[in-house]
Symmetry: C2
Subunit: 127 residues, 2 copies
């Protein structure tokens, strides 16, 4: 009997709307290791653009999931740290990581074969 799942689906819907985002999750995951600077995150998160980094960080600050600390130094230094709320995402995130590793083969294959465009679309323009 898993009826409760559907009862909760509304909450799930909300949480997914808020954080079910690739960059959001990747940033949270990266910060699980501890405080990091903007440039570190930029380097470690494969493929994120500076714009999306800053933007997502700001959102996470609004959410109260991370904290921003500015050090008044000459070469400016800003550090980001997880709050307790942010840290609380560790459980689902680790479960997801484990799953990703367990199914790595399928996932990699799917990733490579994933469609750039849409299902029945003409692919002649596949640059």
């Amino acid at each position: 009997m898993v009826k409760s799942i559907l009862d909760e689906s509304c909450i799930l819907n909300q949480s997914l709307t808020l954080i079910a985002d690739k960059w959001t999750l990747l940033i949270l995951m990266a910060l699980m290791q501890g405080t990091k600077r903007n440039s570190e995150l930029n380097r470690q998160i494969n493929g994120i653009s500076p714009k999306m980094l800053t933007q997502t960080l700001k959102t996470l600050i609004r959410y109260g999931m991370i904290e921003r600390t500015v050090y008044p130094e000459v070469p400016p230094r800003v550090e980001y740290t997880l709050t307790e709320f942010g840290k609380s995402t560790a459980d689902p995130l680790m479960a997801l990581l484990k799953w990703s590793v367990d199914w790595e083969e399928q996932l990699t294959t799917l990733y490579k074969n994933r469609q750039t465009g849409l299902a029945g679309k003409d692919q002649s323009a596949t640059k």
Copy 2:
């Protein structure tokens, strides 16, 4: 020592690209209860449009996460079931559900206050 997280971040990136989608996760979650019909899913998943339902189901079939069964009856009946691969998402999904319930208050507040537009934007047009 959590270095491995970053080493795996590429796989995480891949899996997130594939399934870190609100509707995808909601559908998987709904099917955890067992086989379901199109209309059932449509009813139980809060706010999904028929188009997104069909589209996401098709993607999940391509991924090999669900199976589609057609019953050649007069009022057509089609059922969707999780494959083993699909079922394997139960762990991360349940962890996420638990987290959502644990932090329900914050999430609901954030959800209500979430911005429709962008950060520093003019909100005079907030319809």
